[in-house]
Subunit: 225 residues, 2 copies
């Protein structure tokens, strides 16, 4: 069972059965219920994780009670990579639905990288991608809220396109608007008003968690500024 989970992960796709076997040997499975915390910011980082099923939120808690969502992790993604090389976890993680995950202890995984440089190279590639994502996030937070929302929506449609192969412009939000607001670094009130603004301009249409892009060029213009 966990062999299949490994095979399905982007990070490990294409590895040999022997390599996957090594990975399975050092991992074990873990269950999390909706809302359960996996680890907290500042705790010693003893492992990194592959999410087999479910959704997980990586976030920091600000002193004023707001939360800064760093990223959402979906099935097949890994997270807490940095814990392999830093003494403590840099953020909190919480299950957003019932989730199943594979845990890789730090020391065993580091040893495995020395044995199988191949795996190290994949992890590097993975982390490089994360660096790009986080740089983009930094840039994004300097833009006004409408631009951040537009970028998120464009990204989302882009992914769905890639998955379906169809350029359908109707997409579904994978998270609640409350979560989306946190992910964009704003509050639900402002998000709601920003959606309204785009709807009034006939740039998009929204119905609950479904939305449709009516004017792609206009949306891209909003995303730039």
């Amino acid at each position: 069972v966990s062999l299949d989970d490994l095979r399905d992960a982007q990070l490990f796709a294409g590895l040999s059965d022997a390599q996957l076997g090594h990975l399975e040997a050092i991992s074990h499975t873990l269950q999390l219920s909706d809302g359960e915390l996996l680890f907290r910011q500042g705790q010693p980082g003893a492992a990194f994780y592959l999410l087999a099923d479910g959704t997980i939120k990586v976030f920091k808690r600000l002193r004023d009670g707001r939360t800064a969502t760093i990223r959402h992790v979906h099935a097949g993604d890994t997270f807490a990579e940095s814990a392999l090389f830093t003494p403590t976890y840099p953020a909190n993680t919480e299950a957003m639905e019932d989730s199943r995950l594979l845990r890789f202890p730090t020391e065993a995984f580091r040893a495995l990288i020395l044995d199988e440089p191949d795996i190290g190279l994949r992890l590097l590639s993975n982390m490089a991608h994360l660096l790009v994502v986080l740089s983009n996030r930094v840039e994004e937070l300097l833009l006004p809220v409408p631009a951040r929302l537009a970028r998120y929506l464009l990204d989302l449609c882009g992914e769905e396109d890639a998955a379906t192969g169809r350029g359908s412009l109707a997409c579904v939000l994978p998270i609640s608007k409350r979560e989306l607001a946190a992910r964009l670094g704003t509050v639900p009130e402002t998000l709601s008003r920003t959606f309204n603004q785009l709807v009034r301009a006939k740039t998009i249409a929204v119905d609950g968690d479904r939305f449709e892009v009516l004017d792609l060029a206009a949306l891209e213009r909003v995303a730039q500024n």
Copy 2:
């Protein structure tokens, strides 16, 4: 000469002479003048770099003309790691003073990692640290400007402490206030006013590019909120 540069870099410190030799074999030296651009966002990423001397700025240009500084690179640091594993550079880089750097072509470096997993592990550690820094940056940008400035100052003093071994509370800004404003995601006017605010509260004292922490507890309080 370049062997010494390699030895001085955190990323490569402690490697064997043989390993350093491999690194030297695939690298070559490069000079940049103050203000010169090394590469632009979106260009194909053909190499990653070690900065031997000087200072370099990694930044994105926003459509409205502002610039978002991702990080400042100092002598001994590496940058453009992600270009090893992504098709294009995710940001621009510009020399902030005359600089000398070592260039490692992507393909040669990847091959070296497979031969010397040790080096891969170090690079992983390096990138993990960067991920933590960037996560912190994301969190930071959700805080008000005074908190961002306070964090920057505390960080700076912390580093100097580590370097000097002394808990001296007088530090020197390594960059102009204009650059600092960009680094904090704000504008010079706001930065100036924020400095004033802290000075009036007797939290710090400022004289040009020198400043002194007068009330550490108060500064930490500002940094939290």
